[in-house]
């Protein structure tokens, strides 16, 4: 099994987390079990506060806001184990999304461990 990060990008709303529909939150809660049922595993997951709360640091310069401004902001990340990219895509498609999408990226990590 290989590990992939699933990056969740969502269009932000004024109310932030409070605007997330309850059924979406519920679906997020059920996601790890659904992933197991589909033959994968959730290794870790994090949800982020809105981009407005971010602080960017480039060299010595500290500024308000996220490092990259975009219509859809990074809202969360989870790490899954999947057999291959097709399996990872199948699992990532289960992510509950309000108005945005996800990006799947292979992780370097396990290769480092394997190669010593």
């Amino acid at each position: 099994m290989a590990q992939y990060a699933v990056l969740i990008f969502e269009r932000e709303t004024p109310g932030g987390v409070a605007d997330i529909p309850p059924e979406v939150l519920e679906a997020h809660g059920a996601l790890p079990d659904r992933i197991v049922e589909a033959g994968g595993r959730t290794v870790a997951g994090l949800a982020l506060e809105p981009a407005a709360t971010a602080t960017a640091i480039r060299g010595d310069l500290v500024t308000d806001g996220p490092f990259i401004e975009s219509k859809e902001a990074l809202a969360g990340v989870f790490v899954i184990e999947a057999r291959d990219l097709d399996h990872a895509i199948e699992l990532a498609k289960m992510t509950p999304i309000v108005d945005g999408g996800v990006e799947v990226r292979p992780l370097l990590g396990f290769e480092i461990v394997e190669a010593g």
Partner: protein, 392 residues
């Protein structure tokens, strides 16, 4: 980590060599046999046997193919009596995986499935060899690092993934058909490679009618290929081509394939395009073409595949069925469609309508507009001749 990546890359290159040897042999077998008299029977017996024999001879080489990205043991499909065609299918599905950019899909297919040298792939797509080599390396690295699987997609995903494969094969053929620039209108080799791939897909996925549709479409292109330019390399319009010199055997095979695909159920976009091409190929002359039927088929195609290019072709067919006056408003609307901005066939079609309506001045302006967008020498010569006719 570097060591691990290098290991995968090296294996991929080994596999690449194996693929070339194994598949060039198979393609040779198919090319040698040419177009058969009874294609249906030929496809199910001789082609399969020939291809399989060629592939079997390379069994030990092909055995190294799974060094690409091997699916985990429990995911390996049950092996039937012919595991080797599976390998070939897996490779093409890997090369045409939607996680790769379309240009990388086309390049990988030519390089890995057809065994075309990197330099030749580069010149087919009008980029330098180092650029193409870098593009191929990036794509192979993504296959390895992201673990794009070396499998035939499961049934639920197969139609969508097959569409991607067929699109790549069609793109290969059209790049060969009308090279976007340069002196050669027809790049025969690319078209032939595409034809070989399409034939292979019909043999390996006989239940998927769209593969047959694509093969039929390419056969018609192939049949007309030598008549598309005259002895001086100038473009000859479909209307003016010597139909007696079209490849009748290929057209007959295409016709048979289209009929079978149409009988099998609602046609897909390649089958519809093939049906249109076959109707053209069967007509005794441009004027005697069944234009109303072609308009209907383009209508069905447009419903399935709402592309402005299809709409343009439909409008041209309307001009033949009902006259240029009926078609002009549609073409003028398409000229305002920003998806077609810079598409040379829009001003060329508009110029043709205006010329046929006797509006020479406007036609000349439209021919000039088309010329400004056209790099292909054969097409330029044609447009310049028409412009001169309009007194431009």
């Amino acid at each position: 980590m570097l060591a691990a990546t290098a290991r995968v890359t090296r294996d991929l290159d080994v596999a690449e060599e194996c693929v070339q040897e194994a598949y060039v042999a198979a393609l040779g077998a198919w090319t040698r046999d040419g177009v058969p008299d009874r294609p249906g029977a030929w496809l199910t017996t001789a082609a399969r046997r020939n291809a399989l024999n060629a592939l079997r001879r390379a069994r030990t080489l092909a055995a190294k193919l799974p060094l690409l990205i091997e699916p985990e043991a429990e995911e390996m499909p049950a092996t039937d009596e012919d595991p080797i065609p599976d390998d070939r299918l897996r490779l093409i599905f890997t090369c045409c995986h939607p996680a790769l950019a379309r240009e990388a899909q086309v390049a990988l297919t030519l390089r890995l499935v057809c065994g075309v040298a990197t330099g030749d792939v580069a010149s087919a797509f009008l980029v330098s060899e180092p650029t193409m080599a870098a593009r191929l390396t990036r794509a192979k690295k993504k296959i390895a690092v992201a673990r794009i699987p070396y499998t035939v997609p499961e049934a639920a995903q197969l139609p969508a993934r097959l569409d991607s494969v067929l699109t790549v094969v069609h793109l290969l053929a059209t790049t060969g058909h009308t090279a976007p620039s340069g002196d050669e209108l027809v790049r025969a080799e690319l078209l032939e490679r595409a034809l070989d791939l399409a034939r292979m897909l019909t043999v390996l996925l006989p239940q998927h009618m769209e593969a047959q549709g694509l093969l039929a479409l390419l056969l018609v292109h192939h049949a007309r290929r030598d008549e598309r330019t005259d002895d001086d390399g100038r473009l000859v319009l479909l209307a003016d081509q010597d139909r007696s010199r079209w490849g009748r055997a290929a057209i007959a095979e295409a016709h048979e394939l289209v009929d079978a695909a149409l009988r099998a159920g609602p046609p897909g976009r390649f089958t519809l395009q093939a049906a249109i091409a076959a109707l053209h190929a069967q007509a005794p002359s441009w004027e005697q073409t069944d234009w109303p039927q072609i308009v209907t088929l383009y209508g069905e195609l447009l419903a399935l595949w709402p592309s402005p290019v299809v709409a343009l072709n439909r409008a041209i067919a309307v001009s033949m069925a009902d006259g240029p006056r009926a078609a002009l408003p549609e073409i003028e609307a398409l000229a305002r469609d920003e998806r077609l901005a810079g598409y040379r066939y829009v001003p060329a079609a508009r110029a043709d309508m205006l010329r046929r309506l006797g509006r020479s001045g406007e036609a000349a302006d439209a021919y000039r507009e088309a010329l400004a967008l056209t790099a292909n020498r054969a097409e330029r010569a044609f447009l310049e001749a028409r412009l001169a006719e309009c007194g431009g």
